[in-house]
């Protein structure tokens, strides 16, 4: 155990985590050149394209220093705020962390929040100044920031370039020398922290764990403490480029477990497993059930594909434990699913995976957070869809989730950021100058406001410089209303949204305008109305179609024209009918584009 080192890399997106990880793996001969794919750790296509590591994994390296052989476990962490709970569990599996900062960019918000997580878990921090090869590198300035942030000595900061391979031996040495070996009692009852799970379609769920106390042998009976489920350890081992089956995984080490688990949901990240016949009395601290933060309906574009969509959702759930859903029906969209996501990125990922892996085209309805509603009769309801919102006269209080948002930016953009946050109902809580031209701003904001295009706009107004991190702080009473859309007097449930009263008017107006653009002229005039309860707050009209006839139809035109009309008719079949109005699918997405 004294030769094991468990560490992770804390870095902002694009600061070079994946590239550096590749260098470490090469240097320690964990991968040969032939096996080397660029950015090995990000092995889902989606992740590689996005340049973010969505699911965490771990990989083991052997490293020889001064004749002594060390086992280094690099634990990869997701890089997005949607997955911050998973990050916290990965951090809990380590004794140390490389703090990787791009020498041309400086410190970003996501880095700081993860760094604090690491410090709270008593991890040793090794500061690394990366990309020093860049002409735009500002080593001295960024070193000032690092010293300010973690209070280290300047000379503790390692200069590196993942791209050029600079600093790699120094980093490996620092890992051995500065990060302590795991502490733990090899003879105590087994306590293993589950910090990740990976879906394998042949072998079921692979549980990734770190042993805190005791050890586990192949064939052992184990018990997952939070779920109470028991399994047999059919296969255990350590994680190299390929899995390496072992007879035993020792105290302090990182490994995988396969025990015939088929569904990701059975495995809860943060749970502890122990031996059935000699159980530990306590779980490892910090376990939480992950809760979805954002909810939206997902419907097949083609109503006949509902069953296919269900199968796709079931398959997704096999490997994504944080995706929750239940069937839902909409008058406008037919049969579909109400889904809960960790955040907006998670929602986008699910949507993209449905499209890429399952070839499904789906309509996603307006995302909503979960509100708490107290009715006049004193009931407490959780409302995460407009359709669940009681009529206004039955509502006594609505509370909505609030977050503490940290934004780090160049100081020249502070004005624009303040304006944006205020528009988003944010309250400035704190403003700290990290250096003369870098500011950290803290706002208290409703989560609902961050769900809609906040991040994109923040990036735009700060020319990409601002970074964002947030955590949930609690619920506060808010004046929310349900805004409905009616077409020729018929409510279109899938277009309703829960919005703040002060924004309802503008929301309604913009939505009506957008719908007017997207709904084609039909046989009769269509009135588009936005309403709160019975009160109409905005209105637009789609005029009746004036003509639909082509000029010529002679011998050579007939079959071409028939095919054209047949094709148009097919396209129309994909439209949804509400009352007598036909709505194209883009109209349902329009809501997402309102800002």
């Amino acid at each position: 155990m004294k030769n094991i080192r468990n560490f992770c890399i804390i870095a902002h997106i694009d600061h070079g985590k994946s590239t550096l990880a590749d260098r470490l793996l090469e240097y320690t001969n964990t991968v040969t050149n032939r096996e080397m794919q660029a950015q090995l750790l990000d092995n889902m296509d989606l992740e590689r394209e996005r340049g973010i590591t969505i699911k965490s994994h771990a990989i083991q390296m052997d490293y020889i220093l001064a004749g002594e052989k060390y086992t280094l476990n690099l634990i990869d962490t997701p890089g997005h705020v949607d997955f911050s709970y998973e990050v916290s569990r990965s951090i809990a599996a380590c004794e140390g962390a490389l703090l990787l900062i791009d020498a041309s960019q400086g410190i970003e918000a996501q880095t700081i929040s993860n760094l604090y997580l690491a410090i709270n878990h008593d991890l040793i921090i090794i500061p690394v100044l990366n990309k020093i090869d860049l002409p735009g590198a500002m080593p001295e300035e960024v070193k000032d920031q690092i010293v300010d942030l973690i209070g280290c000595d300047r000379d503790e900061i390692i200069h590196a370039s993942g791209k050029e391979g600079i600093g790699v031996p120094d980093i490996l040495e620092a890992i051995v020398h500065r990060i302590p070996a795991p502490k733990g009692d090899p003879d105590a009852p087994l306590q293993a922290l589950i910090f990740d799970s990976v879906f394998n379609s042949y072998r079921g769920i692979e549980v990734i764990f770190r042993i805190k106390n005791g050890s586990v042998r192949k064939g052992d009976k184990v018990k997952f403490m939070a779920t109470g489920r028991e399994y047999q350890a059919d296969e255990i081992g350590t994680l190299r480029l390929q899995q390496q089956p072992k007879d035993v995984v020792e105290c302090g080490d990182v490994g995988y477990l396969i025990s015939g688990i088929k569904v990701a949901r059975e495995v809860k990240v943060g749970d502890t497993f122990t031996h059935t016949n000699r159980p530990s009395t306590a779980m490892i601290r910090g376990f939480e059930e992950v809760k979805p933060m954002v909810f939206a309906g997902i419907y097949p574009v083609d109503t006949s594909e509902y069953e296919e969509l269900r199968e796709a959702m079931e398959k997704l759930q096999l490997n994504d434990a944080s995706l929750v859903w239940e069937p839902e029906t909409s008058a406008a969209l037919g049969f579909g699913f109400r889904c809960g996501f960790l955040g907006m990125l998670h929602m986008e990922i699910i949507q993209e995976r449905l499209e890429r892996e399952f070839d499904m085209t789906v309509i996603t309805t307006v995302p909503s957070v979960q509100f708490r509603v107290t009715t006049t009769r004193g009931e407490n309801l959780k409302v995460s869809a407009p359709s669940e919102m009681p009529e206004p006269n039955f509502i006594s209080v609505i509370e909505e989730p609030f977050i503490n948002a940290q934004i780090i930016s160049k100081s020249e953009y502070v004005g624009a950021i303040m304006t944006l946050c205020m528009e988003k109902r944010g309250m400035l809580k704190n403003q700290i100058y990290l250096t003369s031209d870098r500011v950290e701003l803290q706002f208290s904001m409703p989560l609902a406001e961050v769900v809609f295009d906040f991040f994109d706009r923040l990036k735009t107004i700060s020319r990409g410089y601002a970074s964002l991190d947030y955590e949930l702080t609690g619920y506060e009473a808010s004046d929310m209303v349900k805004l409905d859309v009616m077409l020729n007097g018929d409510r279109v449930d899938a277009l309703s949204a829960i919005v703040h009263r002060t924004k309802a008017y503008e929301w309604g107006k913009k939505l009506c305008e957008k719908l007017r653009e997207l709904i084609p002229r039909q046989m009769f005039e269509i009135a588009i109305q936005a309403a709160i309860g019975q009160k109409i707050i905005a209105r637009e009209t789609v005029k009746a179609m004036r003509k639909d006839v082509l000029a010529k139809c002679y011998g050579g035109d007939i079959s071409r024209k028939r095919k054209l009309l047949e094709k148009q008719k097919k396209g129309k079949k994909r439209m949804r009918q509400v009352g007598n109005v036909e709505i194209p699918q883009e109209a349902f997405m329009a809501v997402l584009k309102i800002s």
Binding site: M523, M545, R546, D548, C553, G556, E566, K569
Partner: protein, 345 residues
């Protein structure tokens, strides 16, 4: 083409020819000899009815006295003249070679040459501030004493001059509102002038319908000869390759350069709806039932009811007919009644 005629002589179910149409391009450029050759060949391979309608498509500037005399000699008894408009700026706008006065003169010359069954093409919805130019176009056409008028809405297709102009903002897109209004003006003025709208784009006086075109709309067999010509024999459609060189090469080797398309039951119903509804003769319900194996009314009854309710379609004497209002929505009505393709083998 004479060679193709020989290859195709058995295509039609009957040898009797009721109509001939020289069209597609500028057949008025044919020399006397060429035209004579063609007519001879046709008469040799088929039986041309003595009262056959023989139409030739022509541009006004091609119709010289000499040409007209030749045409009359060869038995051409109907002319379809591409006049488009009598407004010179609009003619230039559409890149036409003739002027308004040349157009008028060509009609008079034809009449003098003894070809009195004349159709002129007009284009409406050419961008204009009001309907004045259209009204004057109609007046002039009526004053010429022609028997038949075909009127087409200006279309803006992508990859044409107009398409580019609208794309670059040089020309405003044609508003449906404007086009629809002009269409209505056209119908009412021509009716006042004694013309009957017997098909969406076709108007005739004294029942001088285009017998040839009517055949297209009434499911009669026809044979098209020449590059990209289409033919129909009741069960299938076929068309020649459009590339001239490929056409010539293939015919030289006595091979028909055709693509054949077998029409499914639904195709036949849909094509009948598409063409029949546009005419004053409408679609015969009995035939629709027959073509659909008895399923048409069951499948479309509800839609027919709906279309009737909004006043676009009515049925009388076993016919489905567009209403005056429905004429503006002919495509919409037809496609709403289309039968869905069951799987094609």
């Amino acid at each position: 083409m004479i060679r193709e005629l020989k290859l195709q002589r058995d295509y039609l179910p009957s040898d009797d020819l009721h109509t001939i149409y020289f069209g597609g391009g500028t057949p008025s450029l044919l020399s006397e000899k060429e035209l004579a050759f063609l007519m001879d060949a046709i008469k040799k391979q088929f039986h041309l009815k003595p009262d056959a309608e023989i139409t030739l498509e022509a541009n006004p500037d091609d119709l010289t006295e000499d040409t007209l005399a030749t045409l009359a000699d060869q038995g051409i008894n109907r002319l379809s003249i591409g006049i488009q408009t009598f407004h010179d700026p609009h003619l230039r706008f559409m890149n036409r070679l003739h002027t308004a006065s040349e157009a008028e003169e060509s009609v008079r010359r034809a009449q003098d040459a003894g070809i009195t069954n004349i159709s002129v093409d007009l284009i409406y919805a050419i961008p204009a501030e009001n309907d004045d130019i259209l009204l004057s176009d109609i007046e002039k056409a009526l004053a010429l004493g022609v028997e038949h008028i075909s009127a087409y809405c200006l279309t803006v297709e992508p990859k044409t001059a107009f398409g580019n102009w609208t794309k670059t903002g040089k020309m405003a897109p044609i508003e449906d509102e404007f086009a629809a209004r002009q269409f209505e003006v056209l119908i009412s003025k021509l009716q006042e002038g004694g013309f009957e709208q017997y098909e969406i784009s076709n108007f005739a006086r004294n029942q001088k319908y285009s017998r040839h075109n009517s055949a297209y709309w009434q499911r009669r067999p026809y044979l098209g000869v020449g590059p990209s010509a289409h033919s129909y024999n009741g069960a299938s459609r076929q068309y020649n390759v459009s590339n001239n060189a490929k056409y010539l090469e293939s015919i030289k080797n006595r091979v028909l350069p055709i693509t054949v398309e077998i029409l499914s039951m639904e195709d036949q119903v849909n094509e009948y709806l598409l063409t029949g509804l546009r005419t004053k003769w409408g679609c015969r319900l009995e035939l629709l039932q027959e073509l659909s194996g008895g399923s048409f009314l069951m499948k479309t009854g509800e839609e027919i009811f709906r279309l009737n309710e909004i006043g676009w379609l009515h049925s009388r004497d076993g016919l489905l007919l567009l209403t005056e209002k429905g004429k503006l929505f002919a495509d919409q009505v037809a496609s709403r009644l289309f039968l869905e393709q069951t799987k094609k083998g």
